[in-house]
Symmetry: D3
């Protein structure tokens, strides 16, 4: 591997200097790398507080605090895979449905280029077109860290495409196998219980925060791993799964969430699965005066990157 | 006039107490009042930083600082007209075009109810459907305070309805008479000069901030009054016309704007015109950490209210 | 039950639209409902940083994020009881003692109207006049979640009425039975140990945060339930009981508090007690730049509401 | 003069180091100096947003940015007078009337000690007890820079002592000669016109912001100087006289105010008058996220200090 | 000219998307362009509040709001010159003197590459090494917009290189011709008058803010143009020259500054001079909660860019 | 013991009044007290985000919320030892190496005066010169609470003195006995594993956060106590050891840290050791909009003070 796909050396170029690419990586095309980090600055699916359109830029900014070698494994993802910042998907801010098509096409391209995508959103609706782009060989497994199920049917005059509905659509469209779908960390009052009934009816495993606390992270993740098995699986991480004290800058914060410590442990326990891509969504910088949410998001992205690098290492680099 | 349509007495009910209606007024239907204050929490027309959907609520909050009697005229608008908070227009956050129809229908209803509407936005696209609701008897005059002309043709794959285009559409649709249309305070670099060329070609009078500064407020407003004459005229006030030091919380701030002092003087010089309604748009609370923008917006709304109260007084109250 | 006492449907009216009443409920009189949600915008009892006078308004704002059905019980409080926003108590900002009388009279009225009050404060002194209004049939039990005991005798030239003294006064006045009084979560250095000595001497059970952590929430709450028994009990929740990372916007923050997760669990374990009212106090918006404190407060109010709805259901609705 | 009463040398002790006394001056007793800078951390007279109790501390913090030599005159006040930080007046946060007595007694002591007081507030009610302490030889002249007249009679159940009433009380008590009283910069809607009527009826000269703008600072200040003449005069500067873009952190901001440039020029034009003391009030740090208000306040205090130093120089130092 | 050196089209790629380069321009080497925009993230010369090391990144962020065509001239700088973002100078955060050498060498390289540099700082000390890099053919003229003269000799144990001294050093080193050096907007108290005495003694023309206000921008700029004449001249713009209401985020704010309107007019009046480079310094994002300072800075950089593009046009593009 | 070394009585002097000394203590010389609280406003060792130069001032501000008697022990440190605010060490903001010498000399003086120092920083490099001043009798033990090991060798052109290197230098210089050195709470990716290898190679015990969580605070602290034994030991507490939700205002935040509850428990478990001094470093107020970080820091300083008071009590007061 050339040295090209390395973060800038923070002992030579200060972290406050230079363009804030993801992880201070070079900019490249997906076809040049094993793992493509992308931004999807889209928030047209937001029911209440918008602002995740600014998420990718602030995730990049805060990712300039990231370093190279994971302190638990002692491994650097950059030694295990070629990784680059592959830029933002250029959505259309006035056309939700057209934007979904743009995103889907973009991720189909990433898949064809042979790179695993790691995405910084954007609201949670973006996971639907990402899955449309990636799940070309049949339904995939899905591990979702989140405060909300996002399996409502519709809102507002039967709007079926918004950040409360992506996973119902994904099941309906055959993108996700509901039997291989687990949702972790859900909580908070709901408008009505219909979304939970739908998900459970389809076979989705819902693990409320109360169950997570009672059983502990290791036990829950063992179950999650068993549910998705060793077949292709996508990972979606909604920042609002984390407690709002650690991630206040999001559109629909819900108190009583899991901690970043738990989040990091859960992501690390994904290691070894056949992950085909991952995203970190719902960072809304206008509601994040201290920048902590974007920092949390960028660090979770680094943890996801380490997991993806393991996949690359097992499957072989370019 | 009954005492009902009065702000809460701040010497009896502290300003920090009670529901924050506009100007601490009672809630009522347009048919009960001479002047209906409304909110339009809509920002689907925003090209860059969203957030004006939260504008009406924060304008209401800050309007709890408003008082009753104008210090220059010594008059209270509440002695001259019945005024109430007539609530928000319930838009559809996932359907821009449907929302425009909802707004247009709502303002047609306000017009039919016989009330003059004073609106807190919302992005500037809302003025288009407001005009559709009000300009039922032919094109109206328009006085626009703004940093931008908002007469572009389209953006993003020919999107023709966004907050950069409302006044081109309003001219095309025959809602505004371009010969009775004046734009005051424009400035800032432009994507291309086509919007100015279009507006001028139609007869719109554009007064850049430089001309405003050179000639002074009184001279400019005398010209503006002459342009619209004594026929029905709408007034639209984009908060970004004001300098961002006094109104930072807006989506496309532009330095070098007019001051609130100039703004207040300009609005006062509207007195005597046949104003059929007015709006204050583009307050984006997520970008307004000190709340100053909403305070400025609420105070401009009070000045507009005083002008509208004069119209009511001349034409006769209910 | 009519449908009237329902929150606005967030799938029809966006959460950012409309007047921010508590939980997006209709405004009504206590006599119309089973549970009256009220605000007491009072901070004259504050020893250091004021600002809780703005608490009710921001609690209402953030409560627009609340939903209907509790995810653990699957129950909606609005199906079990009629609930409304019954407005703010109009205190006198220049007369502490007169304000206490106003509050006491107001809550006596709520009690006579037959509604259970759920209050958003305000500083903690307001619980004293609330108890004066409610404890008409003899001393009540009290469960207090808090960082501080609030049982000092006096400060500043023998001021006996401030937010450090309400529960000493409540015991002295026979409003609270000290044997049925438990304080949970106390911590932090104290000016002197006299307040603890007084409380313990009267029979109050003090559970420091260290004990809570060591024994766990369930064990502690079992004891608390035993202490108050099945007789009338009031619940007071000082937001500073919660760790300041989750509730920074308060006048006397104290690090090392219980988490929102623990708080939610503790409130849920109140279910089945004979609760006659509850309050959530000490939210100080000027010290809450991200709004998280008011969000936390509003969610705890929702949890308290669910408990109160259970009381109504057991005792019978109107 | 000894070197003792000098600010710390910022070329030796960095501005960020050391205790933030006013102007980085030593702490001393009024009897040791010619000019005593004091804080009055009092906001019990506030009708709406409290927080000026924190004003003195933040004024001190920002005053660490001040330097020594006035750039226009080339003079240092510290060469002309002995100046020190004489600490805060210890008010009683639960007893408004007692606090007024404490303040009055404190300033009587300053006067007896032979020092000219320069005060950082605190809400505007503090000027009343300051005048009680200073105006021992009969009514004094008064120059007031402000957005509001503060000559209301009462609020809230006939509360006669709050920050809307101090100057009516001061006239009634014979502390101020209304014929030698000028108010500059007033503006904004009023609850009712009674306060202006009262003031004018007593002979107070009110100069609205509109008149100030029309005539210019020099002309207005010439009139102000003529009104107070060469007899003892007090100067009170409410930070809300300045435009809220330059001083957002205050309880009752009013757009359209005078600029800091105008404020500085006006204060400089006080030079030569027989000033017996001055204050800068209504800085409310909780509403000042950028710290600009306290910086503005501290700089105006420096300008007032230079004027007071001229008085000392003319009358002779200790 | 190829289309390559154009900002991203904001009607195709939303302003919130993509890497935030200066003006959304492509990244290139100085040798490829006529005008090189660079960042110098350096604040080791700061006497009080650090943070300008983060200036270039936030200037880039806010510059994504800039557009193409100047509204007064109707000209686009991108039609007149090739312009690119040429990245940051990589300074050494632990070695002030070495960093100065790095910067000087870097700008010597830009000069040799034939590009005019436009710089976003960084504290004001960076102008010294920039001049060392550019003034290879003898002393240049200098127009400085600033609140401070920055001509002190030393601070803190004879530190001769900090942001209070660059222009004394530049004169001593023969980089600037003091007879062709004008400072505009100076104000604020000074530690001692020695810096003004030095500057004036060398022939530097100091124009205080008071003189600027009295004479007006046009008259002052005519004098400034005459002072530097038609020989090579550098322009340095310290953001603290602008009033802190419009640029609060800076290390040593000074109230009473010139407005952005005046600033824009002054920069436009540089047109036609032989400008060899320009900088905008002292933007400190940690003290800029609303982002207004960086927006102001980015807009002034656009105005400077337009002036530089005129120089290129007159001298001939590559 | 005289009453002199007591905090101001918050029941007589409100917490918002008076100069904000550490813990509201009197100012004194180290020779007058048993425990000297000092500030070191130094951030020249910072690799990325500066701002800890403002740490001491904000720690003092927030320490005005501290009280006297520890709620667990029932003891007041002020009954056990004479304690005062001994001011700031006056560093040189332009000379890192000279500042280190100033600090070392200052702490040698504190040691000679016979006081135990408790320090509020400043970046973590300050611990190196503090140890130089204190470890005059041979290497001391060290307990470090931190997210980072700070045992790198150098950065940026072989800079060996910055906040990533102090403990490597301290070992090399014989100030710390690496066999009696334990680091608790470390986590986060690293630039390279060399620093851990070095530390472990020297015998330093590194306890990652994962181990701390797995074993619990009591077990880990028992080990830490055994490691340092009953010989002289210094304690250094980097605020970034605590989770950034509870301490966001720091230069290199790292998610997943220990909680304040854990931090308090760990510090309390230091009781009985032979502590010769302690510091709390890396509080960066410009990145702390809510002030929570400084509050957390001040409270940890109070806990450390209680431990130091125990040392004094055992060894005998002056």
């Amino acid at each position: 591997m050339t040295k090209k796909f390395e973060p800038l050396d923070s002992g030579s170029v200060p972290r406050f200097a230079g363009l804030p690419t993801f992880m201070r990586l070079p900019v490249a095309e997906p076809s040049e790398v094993d793992i493509a980090i992308l931004g999807v600055p889209f928030d047209l699916g937001t029911t209440n507080r918008a602002g995740t359109r600014h998420g990718p830029r602030e995730l990049r900014n805060q990712s300039s605090l990231m370093r190279r070698v994971h302190h638990v494994t002692g491994l650097s993802p950059y030694d295990r895979a070629r990784v680059a910042d592959c830029g933002d998907v250029v959505i259309d801010p006035f056309d939700l449905m057209r934007s979904l098509d743009i995103i889907a096409a973009h991720y189909a391209g990433v898949r064809e280029a042979g790179a695993l995508p790691l995405t910084g959103g954007g609201d949670h609706l973006i996971t639907l077109p990402i899955l449309r782009g990636l799940a070309k060989d049949g339904p995939v497994g899905l591990i979702q860290f989140d405060a909300h199920s996002d399996t409502y049917d519709s809102f507002f005059n039967d709007s079926r495409y918004n950040h409360g509905t992506p996973f119902r659509r994904a099941i309906e469209e055959g993108l996700v196998d509901p039997k291989r779908f687990v949702q972790i960390g859900l909580r908070g009052a709901i408008s009505d219980a219909g979304n939970y009934d739908y998900a459970r009816g389809m076979g989705v495993r819902i693990i409320f925060i109360e169950e997570l606390v009672a059983r502990g992270v290791e036990d829950v993740m063992a179950e999650a791993r068993a549910i998705v098995g060793n077949k292709p699986t996508y990972v979606t991480f909604d920042i609002d799964g984390i407690d709002p004290s650690q991630a206040p800058g999001t559109g629909t914060p819900e108190i009583g969430g899991f901690s970043t410590r738990e989040a990091q442990q859960m992501v690390r326990l994904l290691d070894g699965l056949d992950i085909i891509g991952a995203d970190l969504v719902e960072v809304a910088p206008p509601f994040d005066p201290s920048g902590l949410t974007a920092l949390t998001g960028a660090t979770i992205m680094f943890e996801l990157l380490c997991v993806l690098a393991g996949v690359v290492e097992r499957k072989g680099k370019r």
